[in-house]
Each structure stands twice: as structure tokens, then as C-alpha cells.
């Protein structure tokens, strides 16, 4: 951890440090070590603007897209940040990879061209996870392992040869069913725009994907009754200086993040998330998230990524266009289920 902090450099690192320094509970260890190491440096001259009623003003249109992987690749073990040269080389490499992908796409499937404008930039770190310090998810608990094995076994019953069969809508992810997107939102394939609006007593986050809205009360009211479980949980916020701290619970077990989230595949009923939002300059909202579920992971983990307001894909609120998904999903399911029937019929014919 010491080495990690020592090597974090420049502005984003300083911002993360300041955020870390204020983390209670889950991030306590990291925070303690951070404050022991040295007091956070004055990160920049940026002064957070305030709303007419005196709250820090985080409003804007952002994208949380980034090309940095959630977990640190094995090849980069022991290395947490990239040098400026490495970062440049990585960006060049990603650009080349994208061009190659576009040039060689013979199947007209979703390719880099399709994703090109919505992929963000690398953060400068080698992983989005910053704690544990190896940049990897913590080990699973016994229950976590059991759930993973069961999910894999379930998927295997639906596999014939290389085909993953869709016998019913329940065989596809809730994302592909246009029901939900994993929360908390981490880098996803597309439509990674979000807008923050503030009104007296509330912060509202409007996510483009799934047209999901989280209206977060700041008045200290209790969470919803534990009988009320929601796909997008239940959030309560408060200000710690310029930082919006959000306590997020009451997720539904139906929300499994589908494996589409990097830490996904597990029922989220016991999930407890602490989010921190802090504007570190005019174009950047630092997003620092601690995720805990002691029934799935042996310890909490923390990740951070920037929400950027200077991406050309999301310049203004009119760039967040209606995400009508379910409304256009009939053919997808019809084709998938029909195809599964054909594969099963062919299989029966062989026997």
C-alpha cells in the first residue's frame, strides 16, 4: 500500500488520496495508512461551485467509460500506475487494435466502429480496483464459490457444442432482457452517459442505459423497509465537505449483475455499497466506490474511475437519447428461442 501511494502521481492520484483519506468503515485501513503516510496535498486550485441553496454543485453530463480494465492483468502484477510514455503507448496500441478490428469485421457484428465513440480513455492506472492493492477482486467466501459453481453448472445444461441455448427469456441476462444494468455502474459496452441534477434536498443521477433514475435524498431519512428490494437498490446521501457520500442498500437478489459487471454473477440482496462523488476539476467527477458483501467476498473492495464531462460523445443533456431497449427486443428473443429449438431438433435427429 505504501508503495502504491508513493507511486500515485499527479492530480487524479492526489484526488483519490483525498477521497481515501475521508473514507470510514470499509476503507478504514487504506485511509489510516493514507493519513499516516502524509497529509493529502492541496490537490489543485479548483474550487467546487455551489448551488443557490449552498450544496456543492456536481451537476453535469458525464461518461464513466474507460478503457482501463476492472482488475489488473496478470502481466502487470506489481505495477499500479503507468508512466506517461506507457500511457501514450497504450493509447496508440488501443487505437491500432480498434482500427484492425474495424478492418477485419466480416460478420457485421458489434465491432470497434460501433463502440468507437463510447469507450473513454485509460485512467493511467492498471486497474479500476485500487483496494486490495494487487488490483484484483478479493477471494470468494465459501458461499460465493458455491454460487459460482452452481451458475456455471446451470449454464452448462444449456450448452450444446458451442451453442449456448436460449430456451426461454430467463436464459439470457437481465441486461439483454432490457430489465436492468448492473449497479454500481462500471465501464460497460455502450451508452455510458449519466447526468447529475440537483434540487434542494436531493441529488438525482439519471443513467442513459435503461433510463434508470436514482433520486437520492439528503435529509437523513432511514432506508426503505428491508421488505422493499429494488433492482437499483435504495440510496441515502449526505455531504462530507465537498464530497457526496451515498449509502446504498436494499438491492434485490434478482439483480445479479449478470456477470456483465466485472464483479457480477452474484445475487445482490446482501450488497452494501458506499459511493463517493467529488468534483476534482471542471471536467472530472471522481467516483470512488466501496463494495461489501461478506456472504460473497472475504473482504470489501474499492474501485475508482473518473466520470468525465469533456468527452465529445456526451457534450450535453441532449446527447442522452432515449434508451428504448425492451421495445425493440421482440425479434432478438424470437430468433434466439427459435434457434434453440432448431439446435435441439438437430440434436434429437442425431440420436
Amino acid at each position: 500500500m505504501h508503495r502504491f501511494l508513493a507511486r500515485m502521481s499527479a492530480l487524479p492520484a492526489a484526488a483519490a488520496l483525498m477521497l481515501l483519506a475521508q473514507m470510514p468503515a470499509a476503507g478504514q485501513q487504506a485511509a489510516t495508512r493514507a493519513t499516516q503516510k502524509k497529509a493529502a496535498p492541496a490537490s489543485s486550485r479548483f474550487v467546487v461551485p455551489h448551488t443557490a441553496w449552498g450544496d456543492p454543485d456536481l451537476q453535469g453530463v458525464y461518461t464513466f467509460a474507460t478503457l482501463t480494465p476492472f482488475q489488473r492483468p496478470a502481466a502487470l502484477a506489481g505495477k499500479d500506475v503507468l508512466t506517461e510514455e506507457e500511457q501514450k503507448a497504450l493509447e496508440e496500441q488501443l487505437k491500432q487494435k480498434q482500427e484492425e478490428n474495424i478492418a477485419t469485421n466480416e460478420h457485421f457484428s458489434y465491432n470497434a466502429l460501433w463502440f468507437a465513440s463510447d469507450q473513454g480513455r485509460p485512467t493511467g492506472r492498471t486497474s479500476i480496483i485500487i483496494d486490495p492493492e494487487d488490483g484484483r477482486l478479493p477471494p470468494l467466501t465459501e458461499r460465493g464459490q458455491k454460487l459460482r459453481v452452481e451458475a456455471q453448472a446451470r449454464a452448462a445444461t444449456k450448452r450444446i457444442g458451442k451453442d449456448q441455448l436460449v430456451d426461454t427469456w430467463e436464459d439470457i441476462s437481465t441486461y439483454n432482457r432490457c430489465l436492468s444494468r448492473a449497479m454500481p455502474r462500471v465501464t460497460q459496452e455502450y451508452n455510458q452517459g449519466a447526468q447529475i441534477l440537483q434540487t434542494p434536498g436531493y441529488v438525482t443521477i439519471f443513467y442513459e442505459s435503461m433510463h434508470d433514475v436514482r433520486v437520492i435524498p439528503l435529509d437523513g431519512r432511514p432506508h426503505l423497509d428491508s421488505a422493499i428490494r429494488q433492482w437499483n437498490g435504495d440510496a441515502r446521501g449526505h455531504w462530507e465537505g465537498d464530497i457526496l457520500v451515498v449509502d446504498w442498500t436494499n438491492f434485490s437478489d434478482k439483480q445479479k449483475s449478470d456477470g456483465s459487471a466485472p464483479f457480477g454473477g452474484f445475487p445482490q440482496g446482501n450488497l452494501h455499497v458506499t459511493e463517493r462523488f467529488r468534483k476534482s476539476n471542471a471536467n472530472t467527477l471522481d467516483y470512488l466506490v466501496t463494495v461489501e458483501d461478506p456472504t460473497i467476498w472475504t473482504r470489501p473492495f474499492t474501485f475508482t474511475l473518473p466520470w468525465r464531462a469533456d468527452d465529445p460523445t456526451y457534450r450535453g443533456p441532449d446527447d442522452l437519447f432515449e434508451y428504448a431497449c425492451h421495445e425493440g427486443n421482440y425479434r432478438m428473443l424470437e430468433n434466439a428461442i427459435t434457434a434453440a429449438k432448431a439446435v435441439r431438433a438437430a440434436q434429437a435427429g442425431k440420436k
Partner: protein, 281 residues
């Protein structure tokens, strides 16, 4: 003497006129201002309390579509209607289409084409469109800032962004349309265009084309009430513009908040069940 009497009568008359004019001037109520602005603060959770979603026109009570399954639960409540003048001014072909819509409103979409053309989109949990989202029966939240207003509906987690500070052009038609807002006194006026032709106005099959143009007006009447009016114009379907109006009520429960009604999962058996070779749940 006569002159004095005339003067008195004239004065009384003028006074009465002035009072009447004042009474007609809505709103007598002045809403609190949104901090940092001169405009009314409409933030809050609002809900229509009527049976407009069953039928915009006056209607008697009726049985549920599945009395054998649900008994009196799901039966249609009577309503005096919300259309000014009572009837929607359909062109003749469109009146016939409305009747067909009603008869086939719960047709299961066993083909893609049928899914596209037939049945109440509410049953499929499709985005409800404007103005139906307002009175579909669930609450909605107004999240009002000086530059934009986000309308967030519980039904299908539908949303609309209303642009207050400029007038961007719609890039394409959509289910919830393109909303440009302005203030006329204390009334929020929203001009809605670029709506597609796939939504309905209610469960009775009242419908429109992609030429639909809706002008909504939200006028604060008290801390607890908004008057909602929508003028509906569609030269392909109606003989003239027509108007609906209804009060909206502020949800006043302590700690009230918008809850999820992500109904996709409640619609899948209805939409896709015919594709699947399994006994339904």
C-alpha cells in the same frame, strides 16, 4: 340625483367587472420559487387520481378482462372523462381503428408484425408516451432545475428530459418524444414533438399517429395541486385539436419516494410465452 345614482351603478358595475376579472385570472395561488430563479418550484412526486388510463372519454364501470381469473379485481372503474367536450374528434377511418384497438387490446403478439401493430402497449410494458405517462396510474417525480426538468415516471422507469434554456432539435422520433419547456407566468408549458406512432392514450384503444403534437401545461393551484392540461393535435387522425385536463395531486406521505415499477419482467410471459415449449409458471 339621477347622476349620482348612475355614478353609483356604474362604479358598482366596474367594481364587479374588476372582481370577476381577478377571479378568472389563474392562478390566484403563487407557488414558492425555485431557489436561485424567479420560476415556480414544481419539484415533488405527483399523481393523477382518476380512471383516464382506462378511457379518456366518459365511461361506466365494467368487468375485468379476465373475470374468471380475477373476479372483481381488475374491473374498470367508471369515470366522467377528461376530454373537453367529452368526445375525441376522430376522422371516420380512425374511429373504426379505435374500435378495433379496443377489441384486440389484449391480443398476444404471436408474430413480430402483430406485436408491432396490435394490442395495448401498456400490457407489454412499453414506454407509455405522452400524455399517457402522466395518468397511467403510478406516481411521477418532477426534478426541476433552472436549465432542465427531468420527469421520472415509476411506470417502466420512463423518463423525459425537458429543455428549458434552449431548443435542441430532436435527432429522431422516440416513445417519450422531445420536450421543450417554457414558462407562461406560473405555468410550465412543454411542447412535445417527435413522438412515434406506437403508443396509445389509454386502455380503450385511443391512439394517434407519428404526426402527434402535444402541448402540456402544468399550473400550480396550491402547494398540493397542479392543473394538468394537454392539447393534442394530429392531422392524420383527428378532425381538429382537442384537449384533456385533470388535477395532479402531490404525494404527501412522510418520507415519500419514487419506487421501482420495472415491469419488463411482468410482461415477458405475455409477449414471449407463445415461443416457449414449457408449461407456463
Amino acid at each position: 340625483m339621477i347622476g349620482a345614482a348612475t355614478r353609483t351603478i356604474t362604479l358598482t358595475f366596474l367594481l364587479l367587472l374588476a372582481m370577476q376579472a381577478q377571479a378568472q385570472q389563474r392562478p390566484a395561488y403563487r407557488a414558492p420559487r425555485l431557489p436561485g430563479t424567479q420560476t415556480p418550484d414544481l419539484n415533488g412526486i405527483w399523481q393523477a387520481v382518476n380512471s383516464a388510463n382506462w378511457d379518456l372519454e366518459p365511461h361506466a364501470a365494467g368487468p375485468s378482462p379476465f373475470p374468471a381469473l380475477t373476479g372483481a379485481i381488475g374491473a374498470e372503474p367508471a369515470g366522467q372523462g377528461v376530454v373537453e367536450g367529452g368526445k375525441i374528434p376522430y376522422q371516420p377511418w380512425a374511429a373504426a381503428r379505435k374500435k378495433e384497438n379496443l377489441e384486440k387490446r389484449l391480443t398476444r403478439p404471436t408474430t413480430h408484425d402483430l406485436n408491432d401493430t396490435t394490442g395495448d402497449p401498456e400490457a407489454k410494458c412499453y414506454l407509455p408516451g405522452v400524455p399517457r405517462a402522466t395518468y397511467i396510474g403510478l406516481p411521477f417525480q418532477i426534478i426541476q432545475t433552472a436549465r432542465q426538468i427531468l420527469l421520472s415516471y415509476e411506470f417502466a422507469s420512463a423518463t423525459r428530459m425537458v429543455f428549458m434554456d434552449r431548443k435542441p432539435k430532436p435527432p429522431a422520433d422516440s416513445w417519450m418524444g422531445w420536450s421543450i419547456g417554457s414558462w407562461e407566468g406560473d405555468t410550465l408549458v412543454i411542447d412535445v414533438t417527435a413522438l412515434n406512432d406506437k403508443t396509445w392514450f389509454d386502455r380503450a384503444g385511443n391512439f394517434h399517429s407519428d404526426a402527434l403534437h402535444v402541448v402540456e401545461r402544468y399550473t400550480p393551484l396550491s402547494p398540493y395541486h397542479l392543473m394538468y392540461e394537454a392539447t393534442i393535435e394530429d392531422s392524420k387522425v383527428f378532425t381538429r385539436p382537442w384537449k384533456i385536463s385533470m388535477p395532479l395531486y402531490r404525494r404527501m406521505e412522510p418520507n415519500i419516494q419514487s419506487l421501482e415499477f420495472k415491469c419488463v419482467e411482468f410482461s415477458e410471459e405475455f409477449i414471449y410465452g407463445h415461443l416457449v415449449d414449457k408449461p407456463t409458471k
